[in-house]
């Protein structure tokens, strides 16, 4: 084991982690830990754009963006956070441009903007051009640009180091992390005054997902096991347009540029459900439209998919603005989008829930808003909450840059005012013991099979449409898988780059998060945003205009409610 001391450790090198790091670089002694190389982070897969009310191509105001965010989140959004998101987005996008991000441009040389689902002018009158973009690889450009800035500012990157534990002092202050270096198997204790969790989402618990294989929720699950709460876990977004069977994302930008969803009769069915926004209604709704079409027997060939039709778009628009996603259709389905419709189905995409934080990224200890000193979270692993019950397209990238930046600035002040808390004795012991036990077990359960069963049941019973019966079955299955996991065994017993081991650990993390997700979903007896129940089809503001907070207490889970902050927009029925 080797010991290192930093002012702050940032776990995760995607957009949120790097944005935090750049705020602190050169001003505090920091390290960025990632189980990947930073540019491999899943922020790089984001496609369509990052929203900001720049008003470059038509009139726009941050208050409109705030309203869309609140309405898109089915009023579960904390409105003080949404105001910051929409207002700070403008500056944050300019900051990205100043860092060198190569946005597409208008003829006048300004950042170009395009339409995206749920983004409207004048509080819902019709679509607005708000998404700033770089072709259909905006996330790629963000991750590259932020990594480049990290290099410029000499940030210490601890690449390919796997997070094993988050450490707390006797007084409950966060005081560092335990990691394992993949190439050598060496354990590291990183003693710090502050720890940022920016490890992204956990879409890999579902069978069909747009998420990277690294998206296993490590940084959420580990603090959760240590008693840190998770919030609004039941809100998991299914993106309507995943490539059929593969789940690979085809950006909403395809519809923003004019793409249309069609059923087996060739009908542009979204207009029937959402007369104003049509195909650009928010994702939760469009995913449900697809579900309804398939249920009514209007899926293509009677199967569980529909078509995304781009054939009427000028070929040069496809080449200039949607090159990557059309390449995916060619590579993986042998479909030419210029002449053929693309088979798509909803794909598990984004966790609205995660570690609850305040407006500066500080993780909350409970539903009353007490903070855990030294522990921060941002991005998909956090829940501020700006996405509420359903995130709007492009708002994930906005979340990363706005709240990554705010958290970084707060952490800088915090580490300046604090000294290193005392670490627990033998800080790496629990992590080592867990690993030694798995490695020493001569035979037992196969983690891959446990994971596949988890993915099947989550997709089947806890995805776009839910009910108590199905979710109780899913809960029973997850409990039995958690039991099986206690006996998990691996074949690779070595120290060097042991991905047999890391995949087993990741499976364990997802099992715990899946349980929390189902507990939240069962408790919430209403339908709101991405959480749609056939047994409770209506939104219930009198009982459920509240966040769910789930905490592990020994073997038991405790669920409490946290009120939603409503400042400007009273909850209304959500019509598009």
């Amino acid at each position: 084991m080797s010991y290192h001391r930093y002012d702050a450790v940032i776990v995760g090198a995607g957009g949120a982690g790097l944005m935090t790091a750049i705020q602190m670089a050169g001003k505090a002694n920091i390290a960025v830990v990632s189980k990947l190389y930073p540019p491999r982070s899943h922020t790089g897969a984001a496609q369509g754009g990052v929203a900001a009310a720049l008003g470059n191509t038509e009139e726009d105001h941050w208050e409109w963006h705030m309203f869309d965010t609140v309405k898109g989140g089915d009023y579960l959004v904390d409105q003080d956070a949404a105001a910051i998101l929409a207002r700070d987005a403008i500056d944050a996008v300019y900051e990205l441009e100043h860092m060198g991000l190569p946005f597409n441009r208008t003829p006048d040389g300004l950042i170009d903007q395009r339409r995206f689902g749920g983004h409207s002018r004048n509080f819902g009158e019709g679509p607005v051009r708000r998404a700033c973009y770089a072709a259909d690889r905006t996330g790629h450009m963000i991750i590259q640009t932020l990594y480049q800035q990290g290099i410029k500012h000499n940030v210490t990157f601890r690449d390919e180091e796997f997070l094993l534990d988050v450490l707390f002092s006797e007084n409950g202050e966060c005081c560092g992390v335990v990691t394992r270096e993949l190439t050598t198997g060496e354990y590291h204790v990183l003693h710090a005054k502050a720890v940022m969790i920016a490890t992204g989402g956990f879409g890999r618990m579902f069978k069909i997902t747009s998420n990277a294989m690294a998206g296993t929720g490590d940084g959420v699950a580990i603090p959760y096991r240590r008693g840190v709460p998770v919030m609004d876990m039941e809100f998991y977004q299914f993106h309507p347009t995943g490539l059929y069977k593969l789940g690979i994302l085809l950006s909403e930008a395809a519809r923003g540029e004019g793409g249309i969803l069609r059923n087996n009769e060739g009908e542009a069915f979204a207009a029937r459900y959402a007369p104003t926004m049509k195909d650009l209604a928010p994702r939760d709704m469009v995913s449900r439209f697809i579900y309804e079409e398939v249920k009514a027997g209007r899926g293509i060939d009677g199967k569980d998919y529909v078509h995304l039709d781009l054939t009427h778009l000028p070929p040069e628009v496809i080449d200039a603005k949607l090159p990557d996603i059309t390449d995916f259709a060619r590579t993986y389905l042998n479909v030419e989008p210029k002449t053929q419709p693309v088979p798509i189905q909803p794909t598990a995409h984004y966790a609205m829930g995660g570690l609850p934080t305040d407006l500066d990224g500080r993780v909350l200890a409970d539903a009353s808003g007490n903070v855990i000193p030294g522990l921060y979270a941002a991005g998909e692993s956090a829940c501020v909450s700006v996405h509420g019950a359903n995130r709007l397209g492009t708002n994930s990238l906005v979340d990363l840059i706005v709240f990554g930046r705010r958290a970084g600035r707060h952490m800088l002040k915090f580490v300046d005012d604090t000294s290193h808390p005392t670490m627990p004795a033998n800080p790496d012991r629990p992590a080592r013991e867990e690993i030694d036990e798995i490695v020493a077990r001569p035979s037992g359960e196969n983690a891959a099979e446990i994971r596949e069963r988890l993915q099947d049941v989550m997709m089947d019973k806890v995805s776009v449409v839910r009910n108590a019966g199905g979710m109780n079955e899913a809960l029973a299955e997850v409990e039995s898988l958690r039991n099986a996991y206690k006996n998990v065994a691996i074949q690779d017993k070595g120290n060097i780059f042991n991905t047999d081991l890391t995949e087993a650990l990741e499976c364990g993390y997802m099992l715990d998060l899946a349980e929390a997700l189902i507990i939240g979903a069962l408790a919430r007896e209403e339908s709101r945003g991405a959480h749609y129940r056939t047994d409770f089809e209506k939104r219930d503001d009198s009982n459920w205009l509240a966040h769910t907070v789930v905490k592990m207490k020994g073997d038991k889970l405790e669920l409490t409610k946290k009120p939603v902050t409503v400042t400007t927009f009273e909850p209304k029925e959500r019509v598009y």
Binding site: S41, P102, F103, I496, F497
Partner: protein, 232 residues
């Protein structure tokens, strides 16, 4: 379809030297090579080791030699590679384990060309202006995902450790021709050194290997031309 994967295995904790091992798997033609590797790892031999993450050609983790060509395992379908597939680690880097190579020298090359926007002026209150044509000038080289397919396909890098390699030049190109950047001269000076662009023998292996279809050899040629024609 039934296929045989012939995979070059090496575990430094056990093996003295690399050896090929064969695995039989049943796949669909539309499965990715990565899916086939996953089938082996998850249901046959958990010790098989490779990097992977996004599984759709965006993150750059799973570059490897597939039937002698550098490819991303997630961007090649089984139907394209035949029923006997040879899979090896990238050439030119030391092997950490199985298909995982040491990327340190690759990222050192990338860092050496100052891969970040260099400006000496104050930032404006809003965005800097850039016309669509100016933006288009360097579009191709912004697509790089740092997978190292090009650099490890280049015969010069196999024998010359000094050469920064195609990927580093691609990323220098991305900034040299960005109208907002003011560090072009610094980068051109770096690329004019012994380790720079003049090592390139225009073999085109890099362009063939790029999973993002970047015209790498052309980008290198443009840098060479700037060195010959511009004062810097």
């Amino acid at each position: 379809m039934e296929v045989t994967l012939r995979i070059k295995r090496y575990n430094p904790e056990i093996d003295e030297k690399p050896t090929f091992r064969e695995y039989q798997v049943t796949v669909e033609k539309t499965d990715r090579v990565l899916d086939a590797l996953n089938m082996v790892k998850w249901h046959d031999d958990g010790t098989l080791t490779y990097r992977r993450s996004c599984a759709h050609g965006i993150c750059g983790s799973d570059a490897m030699r597939i039937n002698g060509r550098n490819r991303l395992a997630c961007k090649v379908l089984m139907g394209e590679v035949g029923d006997r597939v040879t899979i090896e680690p990238l050439l030119g880097f030391s092997v950490i384990k199985d298909l995982v190579v040491d990327m340190d020298s690759f990222f050192a090359g990338y860092r050496s060309i100052k891969p970040y926007l260099i400006t000496h002026d104050e930032n404006p209150a809003t965005e800097r202006r850039q016309t669509p044509a100016e933006r288009e000038r360097f579009d191709d080289t912004t697509k790089c995902i740092l997978c190292a397919s090009c650099t490890t396909a280049c015969p010069i890098t196999w024998t010359n450790e000094e050469f920064v390699g195609p990927a580093a030049i691609v990323n220098a190109h991305r900034f040299i021709y960005d109208s907002r950047d003011q560090g072009g001269r610094e980068r051109l000076r770096i690329l004019n050194q012994r380790s720079g662009v003049w090592r390139c023998r225009t073999v085109f292996n890099c362009t063939d290997a790029c999973p993002r279809d970047i015209e790498i050899t052309k980008a290198i040629e443009e840098v060479k031309r700037s060195l010959l024609t511009e004062t810097y």
